[in-house]
C-alpha cells in the first residue's frame, strides 16, 4: 500500500515541466518534495490528481492506476489534495464547505456530515469561525479551512501544496500536529515545502526536483548535504 510514481513526463507545449519523474511515497511516512520555483512540484500534484494529463508514466495507489482517471475519480479513490492557491469556496461558510467535503454524494445524511465537520473544525480551532464565509477569514485560517476539507474527505493519501507557508507560529504548530497524527494513522503524505525547517522536522523522505527532473532522493540530511542540491537550491558556490 503506497503511492508509486513511475517515469512521469508532462509538458505544456514546448516546456517540459516533468521529465521522467519517479518516486514512491510510503504510508505512515511523510515524503517531502522540494525544489526551486518552477521545478514542477505543483505539476506533479496536478498529474497525480488528474488535472493535468501526462505524456507518459504511471501513478499507482495500492496498485490502482490513477493516470487516465478524472480528478473526481482520483479523489474518490482516496487522494485528497490541497491547492497552493487554496481554491476555497469563498462565498460559502466554513462549516458548509467542510460538510461538503465530508459528503460522498447528495444522499449522505446531513447530520453525519455536520457531526464530522464540527469535530474537525474543533480540532483545527475553527469552531468560532464556522459560520463565516471563507473569503472573510485571515490567510492562516483560510489555510486551516483547506486542511479541514482534506481531513473531511477521509482519504488515504494527502497531497499538501505549500500548506505551511505563511502560517503564524501557533498555526504552524497545529499544522505539524495534524500532519503527525495523519502519519500515525498510516496515511500516505506527500508535501511540497519551501520551509526547510519543516522538512527537517517532519519528512522521512525528501525528493529534490529541479526543472522537471528528480535529482536527489534520500533523508533530509542526505539531501541537504548533497553538493548538487546546495548549489542549485541554496545558491552556494564553491
Amino acid at each position: 500500500m503506497s503511492l508509486e510514481i513511475n517515469g512521469v513526463r508532462a509538458a505544456f507545449g514546448g516546456l517540459v515541466a516533468l521529465d521522467d519523474v519517479s518516486l514512491t511515497a510510503e504510508p505512515g511516512a511523510v515524503t517531502a518534495l522540494i525544489g526551486p520555483n518552477g521545478a514542477g512540484k505543483t505539476t506533479l500534484f496536478n498529474v497525480i490528481s488528474g488535472l493535468v494529463p501526462p505524456e507518459r508514466g504511471s501513478a499507482r495507489l495500492d496498485g490502482t492506476e490513477l493516470i487516465g482517471r478524472s480528478a473526481r475519480q482520483v479523489a474518490r479513490l482516496g487522494v485528497a489534495r490541497s491547492f497552493q492557491e487554496l481554491r476555497l469556496f469563498g462565498g460559502v461558510s466554513v462549516q458548509e464547505q467542510t460538510m461538503f467535503a465530508a459528503e460522498r454524494s447528495v444522499l449522505t445524511r446531513s447530520r453525519e456530515s455536520r457531526a464530522r465537520a464540527t469535530e474537525i473544525l474543533d480540532r483545527l480551532g475553527l469552531s468560532a469561525a464556522r459560520r463565516s464565509l471563507a473569503a472573510d477569514l485571515g490567510y492562516g485560517q483560510q489555510k486551516a479551512v483547506s486542511i479541514a476539507r482534506m481531513l473531511a474527505m477521509n482519504g488515504r493519501a494527502w497531497l499538501l501544496d505549500e500548506q505551511a507557508a505563511g502560517l503564524a507560529p501557533r498555526e504552524y504548530e497545529l499544522f505539524c500536529e495534524v500532519v503527525a497524527e495523519a502519519k500515525d494513522r498510516g496515511l500516505i503524505i506527500l508535501l511540497i515545502e519551501h520551509n526547510l525547517r519543516l522538512v527537517k522536522d517532519l519528512a522521512d523522505v525528501v525528493v529534490f526536483l529541479d526543472r522537471g527532473r528528480e535529482l536527489v532522493t534520500g533523508t533530509a540530511h542526505e539531501v541537504f548535504s548533497n553538493e548538487l542540491v546546495r548549489s542549485l537550491y541554496f545558491g552556494e558556490r564553491d
Binding site: S110, R130, R131, D136, G138, M153
Partner: protein, 312 residues
Amino acid sequence: MLEYLATVGTLTGIFAIAAAGLNITLGYAGVFSAAQAVFVGIGAYVTALLGPQVGGSLIICAVAAAGCSVAVAMVLALTSLRVSDEYFMVASLAFQIMVSTVFTGWYSVTKGTDGISGIPYPRLLGTELSTPETQSRLIWVVAALVVALTAVLRRGSVGRLFLAIREDPVATQTLGRSPTLGKYVAIVLGAAVSSLGGVLYAFYIGFINSAAFDYSLSIQLTAIVIVGGIGWSLGPVVGSAIVVAAVPLISLLDLPSTTVGPLEQLIYGALIIAAVGVRGYIPSAVVLRERWAARAGGARPWRRAHGPVVKP
C-alpha cells in the same frame, strides 16, 4: 385602483415563482441560463392546451408542465455538459430564441402572436377557483411553498453541491464530486419550478401569446434574481416586488404612454448594474447575516483576504 393593485400583487407572486426557478440555476449553481422564459412558456402552453381537456385541473396541468419542461431542460442541459460557462450563456440564449421562434411560428398549435384564449378557471381538490382573490391566494401559497422548498434545498447536501460548483468547479472535482452532474440537476430543477410560474400565469390571465415568452422575459427574470439578491431564497420575492410591482408604479406618474415601457427597462438595467457594482456577487443580506452570526459566535474580526468573492 384597488383591483389594479391586487393584479400587480398577484403577478408579483407569479414572477417570484418563475424567478425562483432561475435562482436555483443561476443563484445557487452559478449557471447563467438565458433560456428561463422557455420553461415559463412551456408551463403556460401546456396549461392553455391541456387545461380545457382536463377541466382545469391544476395538479394535472402542473405535473404535465413540469414533465414537459424537464424534458426540454434535459436537451438544454446536454449542451451544458459539453461546453464551458461562456459558451453556455450563448448557447442558452440561442436556445431561447429558437424556442421563441417555435412558439411564434408553429401557428397550428400555439396560435403564435394571436394567442390562445378561453383557458378555464383552475380547479383544485374539486373546487373551482373562479375569483381573482382565490387565485391570488393560491398563487401566494404556491410562492411561499416554492420559497420554503428552495430554502430547504439550499441548506441541504444538494445546495452545498450547487454552491461548490458556483464557487469553483475544479476544486469541486478534486473533492470527489461532479460539477457536470450538479449543473445538469440545477438546470432541470430550475426549469420545473419556473414552469409552475407559467401554469399559474396562464390560469390567472386566461390568455397567452408567444410575445409573452420571448427573450425579454428571460431578461426580466434575470433582473429579478439579481436585484433580489443572487442565491438568496427569498431573493426572487424581493426582486419581483421591486421589478414587477414597484417599477411599474412609474406609470402612475403623468407620462406619455410610449415612454413608460422604455423607462421601466432603463430602471431594470440600472438596477442590475447597481446590484453588481454596489453589492457584489453575493447578496449583501446573506453576507451581513453570516457576518453577524460570526460576530455573535465570537470570531476574530475578519481581515479582508484574497478570494473570488468581494464584499460590498
